[in-house]
Amino acid sequence: MTSYIIRRVGQFVLVFFAATFLIFSMVFAIPGDPIRALAGEKPMPDSLRQTLVQRYHLDEPYIVQYWYYVTGVLQGDLGESFNQRPVLDIIKERFPRTLRLAIYAFIIEMVIGVTAGVWAGIRKDKFLDSLVKVSTVAVISIPIFVLGFMAQLFIGVRLGWLPVTAGNPPSLYGYLLPAIVLAAVSLAYVARLTRSSVVENLRSDYVRTAKAKGLSRRRVIGVHTFRNSLIPVITFLAIDLGALMGGAIITETIFNVPGIGQALYQSVLGQEGAVVVGIVTLLVIIYAVANLVVDVMYAVLDPRIRYD
């Protein structure tokens, strides 16, 4: 197990360099002049322009720029935005909000998704099962931005149950609607995955054995079926936690949550290369760590899997 983790961390280093290099290249390839974008409509003196170009190494080949950037990152310096704010500061300010949003969404997704899935699974082909199946297909088919605006319109404006935007700084209450919208699609996947997993396991030989042992229905389902059924679900949930943090761009923009997704969106528009690369690097790290955790968790949940 230890050697497996060491190997995985080695792969992780590779993923880090490959991902940052790719992102850096893509940002570099965006057409347009970032210095001009900074100045907007106003004219800019040539001397200032020269200083800025030199400070951000914009006159160097992009391989060199990447080198400057990576050495900075390894020293804990993610660079700074054009208005001279360290990218690390932006992340420090914004990331906790995204994290909170992601965790709320994750809790909603896990609790409701797994409950609905188990419920539907043990009542296969009954009314509740059909209800879960139909509603999850509906949610999965609707794009998240449509879902977001609809939630804003109906729950926020017409019914007035929850705030339309998160507010700044966001309140716990304000997080609720964006968290529900962010969770919705994953929740539907979790419910479906849990359902099919439960249905499949209920048919398995070892569940029949558990019944033949004279165990109660509660124990047959709660112990002998549940643990096996959760193996694929937990895998999905762990990867999804990474996706929720990175995938909040649309939701944060719709609900005006001042988190990392919104910052990313704004800096892409402003061609703030350093900020974009900094944030995306963070997301890549989160994603890679989530994957590592999933792989290790597999072995804990399913003793048939051992890494040697």
Binding site: R203, D205, T209, L215
Partner: protein, 343 residues
Amino acid sequence: MTKVTPLDTAVDPHSADTGVLLDVRDLEVEFRMRSGTVKAANRVSYQVDKGETLAIVGESGSGKTVSAQAIMGIIDSPPGFVTGGEILFRGKDLLKMEEKERRQIRGDRISMIFQDALTALNPVFTVGWQISEMFQKHRGMSKSEGYKRAIELMNLVKIPSAAERVNAYPHEFSGGMRQRVMIAMAIALDPDVLIADEPTTALDVTVQAQIMGLLADLQQQTGMGLILITHDLGVVAEVADKVSVMYAAEIVETADIRELYRHPYHPYTEGLMRSLVRPDHKGGRLSPIKGSPPDLLHIPSGCPFHPRCDYVQDVCRTDDPPLREILEGRTSACHFAEVFSND
């Protein structure tokens, strides 16, 4: 100290000894599916007494497993339903019992071993955990006491270094050892009746003999009734006292094992015996029964065996012969049982 009920003085709520231990009478099981209703057990009757081994023989799909699952009460429902008959255990009808009462018998007084121990054991729990569960849930023992008993049982079924292997998972055992674990779990509470559903089919030949030997030993030690479900007449010859032959959801012949081999009273039984691989027939050709077993959705009219029977007459195509007593302790469902057996 938690309350511990020792194995040998286990309280049996149904100790009223009246007649045979397990008496299945005219059992009917149906599977209702979209494609139609299948009768998977049709007027199935058999008895098992203390210390006795009854073999139920038949091809796959003949309904032998379904009747056993009906005794256990583990038929998937829907689609399966027990639609008639009685299953008397110590004189009490299991089918009329409350689920709670029945559950106390299931796994405790009547238990079952399945064909493939790899899939029949839960992959995410250790074998010790799974055996111990029997003691914890049926006898209210503590976990440590349950594990102690699990080790004793693993020794009893001859699993080497049981004390170390108690914490191993099913996939870490060989096929034969896994089936021993399954057996240990089934006999944990010293049941009155053990149903073994093709316990050796998934194993290779040398291991098959070991497992059958183990079951025979355990039966001698405990005096339990054993129902052995198999398609292998060779296995039956070695261990069974009585044989019931099933074909197309019905029992077609029941006999004492020696009588059966000396003299089958049903053409299907005769066909099964002719298709056995025997050392004295070395070099000769096997003579399998022609055709294939019927689809239970489309059971032939009259005697279900008539399309494959060498002795078929007109009456066989129209009238389904009832199971009737030919001699004492021998039944056959063939119109020409007496005539046929005189050949």
